[in-house]
């Protein structure tokens, strides 16, 4: 795919996004499509996400795993980006004892950092391992944290400074939220914009004209752990 085609796709998704934002919240259904044939395993999405959400060490909202396919001798290797699946039937929200995590009307699973008690039950209940605990570590050490490490990450469009006690995400569960703070401003998710291979697509599944809807309709699509009945909103193309 050449750069012009890539830019065209970005423009299409941007237009999809603007159309979706013009609709009421409960009529949107955010979804992500990841074309595994195009993922080159560059980890640009992981890095972009980390800088966007200021995630601490040992926490990646969107790692790229390397998965072996087939059986010897006919084996292959594919890269598997794994964001939060924003399940339609999420196990994580049901087990949270204080309703600190819930599913929004537009399908995004969010966390209230001011409410989370840090019990990690949602980490245990998520079958995709998409959640992590913020244990309060810094890349440069607790007492010599760089300014950018204690800045407001802007997640969920709110102010969560790591040094603040009540509004800090430290001690909480954290996860990918499809860059709500960007999407609500009309920007695509960070992983979509940083994907070098043009493998990540984002949009409104309720919009028949949206690129994601058309991609899913093609048929060469699967979701992870379908048997658990979680109904993920991240679709993989083969």
């Amino acid at each position: 795919m050449d750069m012009t085609a890539h830019m065209d796709i970005m423009a299409v998704m941007k237009a999809d996004l603007e159309r979706a934002l013009a609709k009421p919240l409960d009529q949107r259904r955010w979804a992500m499509v990841i074309d595994l044939r195009r993922c080159i395993g560059c980890h640009a999405c992981t890095t972009g996400c980390m800088s966007e959400n200021l995630t601490p060490p040992h926490m990646q909202y969107r790692p790229v795993r390397e998965e072996e396919t087939g059986r010897f001798p006919a084996t292959g290797l594919r890269f598997l980006p794994r964001p939060c699946m924003q399940c339609d039937n999420p196990g994580c929200t049901r087990v949270c004892p204080v309703k600190a995590t819930w599913k929004r009307e537009d399908g995004l699973v969010t966390i209230d950092y001011r409410k989370c008690i840090g019990c990690r039950y949602c980490l245990v209940a998520c079958p995709y391992g998409a959640r992590s605990t913020d244990t309060g570590e810094y890349y440069t050490g607790e007492f010599h944290a760089r300014t950018y490490e204690v800045e407001n990450s802007g997640e969920y469009g709110k102010t969560f400074r790591r040094r603040s006690h009540w509004h800090s995400p430290v001690g909480n569960a954290r996860k990918c939220h499809f860059c709500i703070h960007r999407v609500e401003k009309g920007e695509l998710t960070r992983c979509t914009t940083t994907c070098l291979g043009g493998a990540t697509f984002f949009g409104d599944l309720n919009d028949p004209k949206a690129l994601v809807t058309k991609l899913i309709a093609k048929g060469n699509v699967f979701t992870y752990k379908e048997e658990l009945g979680t109904r993920p909103m991240v679709f993989y193309l083969l």
Partner: protein, 381 residues
């Protein structure tokens, strides 16, 4: 409500005990308990001030470890003490009655010790008020917290009644049924996790009740055996030996069924049952259940009971740690950058939390014992 002399030891006796401790006449066990509490306190302080990331070995891959296992263990021991109290009162009333307040006291201090470990595990223990302001009825953890609170409340009332010799059958049943639901809820907290085959089981709530009964009864039996060794009154031991044998046999059946069901499972994640089968059979059943059963059958002396219950108490803790940690051994995604099996070794701080909980139980019990709380039960208020 009279606090001193009824719920707590007489003020004078308590003061004397503390004076003796300060004067160096506390006894080895009491100083060991104090050392455990101090070291454990240092461990908890390290976790609180330095953060979980620097002090514990739990991670995104193993979110629950030693601290949750410690909580589950002490909570189940607490429940076991209460089941012992109910069965003791119902079936061995005459022999058991003088020991009732001691057993309920043990139930209370174990519940406290369990909560100590849980509190040090939570990322934000100060936000527990959200359980009241924003409850989630679909969460097994929410129900566990509701029943755990009710459990402690009913224990306190039952303890108060037993101390005053005001026996109420209704309250006795309530103090059996509420813990029964509490430890069922704790079992369902694990049993409801459909993503982890090692946890996901309808058998787990039932297993927790019997495992709790086993461990709690073992603690009570050990305490009574120590007293019997001192007084020479072996008659007191009989009900505890009988209850312990019933508990051992019940847990054996349930552990065996759990293993068999796990071995038959074919989905991803069930292989952990096959990999740990030998350990489960040799250690989890023969060493920790059959051996104590045989000891209790052939050696009914205080020494024999002490040996059997010590084996039960230690192996049940290991079983709780195994139960919590093994759930995470098989990674959720089979990929290159993930190990085949995920290992976990508790950190020093996590071991110190165990020490804090154990030290707290030992300290509170020994102080109560030395201060004469269980010697002559108070009469009326």
């Amino acid at each position: 409500m009279t606090l001193f002399g009824l719920l707590l030891p007489e003020k004078e006796r308590l003061a004397t005990t503390f004076r003796e401790i300060v004067a160096g006449r506390g006894g080895v066990a009491l100083y060991a308990a104090i050392a455990g509490m101090l070291l454990g306190g240092a461990g908890i302080a390290a976790i609180v001030f330095l953060g979980h990331g620097r002090t514990t070995n739990t991670s995104t891959l193993v979110p629950w470890g030693m601290q949750i296992a410690t909580y589950v263990y002490f909570a189940l021991v607490s429940g076991g003490c209460i089941f012992t109290n109910f069965l003791g009162t119902q079936f061995f009333r005459r022999t058991y009655e003088p020991l009732a307040s001691r057993v309920i006291f043990l139930g209370l201090v174990n519940a406290l010790a369990g909560f100590l470990s849980l509190a040090s595990e939570l990322g934000h223990v100060e936000r527990l008020f959200w359980f009241i302001l924003s409850p989630n009825p679909t969460s097994p953890m929410f129900w566990m917290s509701v029943w755990y609170t009710a459990d402690i409340a009913i224990l306190l009332v039952e303890y108060y009644n037993v101390r005053r010799h005001h026996h109420s059958k209704g309250l006795l049943y309530a103090s059996f049924i509420i813990p029964l639901i509490t430890y069922c809820s704790l079992g369902s907290l694990f049993g409801a996790v459909s993503s982890l085959p090692y946890y996901y089981s309808a058998l787990l709530p039932v297993y927790f009740i019997f495992a709790g009964f086993l461990a709690g009864n073992a603690l009570c039996a050990a305490v009574v055996a120590l007293r019997a060794a001192k007084d020479g009154c072996r008659e007191l031991l009989r009900p505890f030996i009988r209850m312990q044998k019933i508990a051992l046999a019940s847990v054996f059946v349930l552990a065996f069924c759990r293993t068999i069901i796990g071995l038959a499972g074919s989905g991803s994640g069930y292989e952990i049952f096959r990999e740990t089968m030998v350990t489960d059979l040799v250690f989890g059943m023969v060493v920790s259940l059959v051996v104590p059963f045989l000891i209790l059958t052939y050696r009914k002396s205080p020494g024999g009971v002490l040996l059997a219950t010590a084996i039960v108490l230690v192996t049940q803790f290991i079983a709780r740690l195994d139960l919590v940690v093994r759930g995470f051994r098989v990674p959720l995604f089979r990929v290159y950058d993930m190990p085949e099996r995920i290992g976990y070794t508790p950190s020093v701080a996590e071991l110190l939390v165990l020490l804090a909980s154990a030290g707290t139980v030992l300290f509170l019990y020994l102080v109560a014992e030395r201060s004469g709380l269980f010697e002559a039960p108070a009469k009326g208020e």
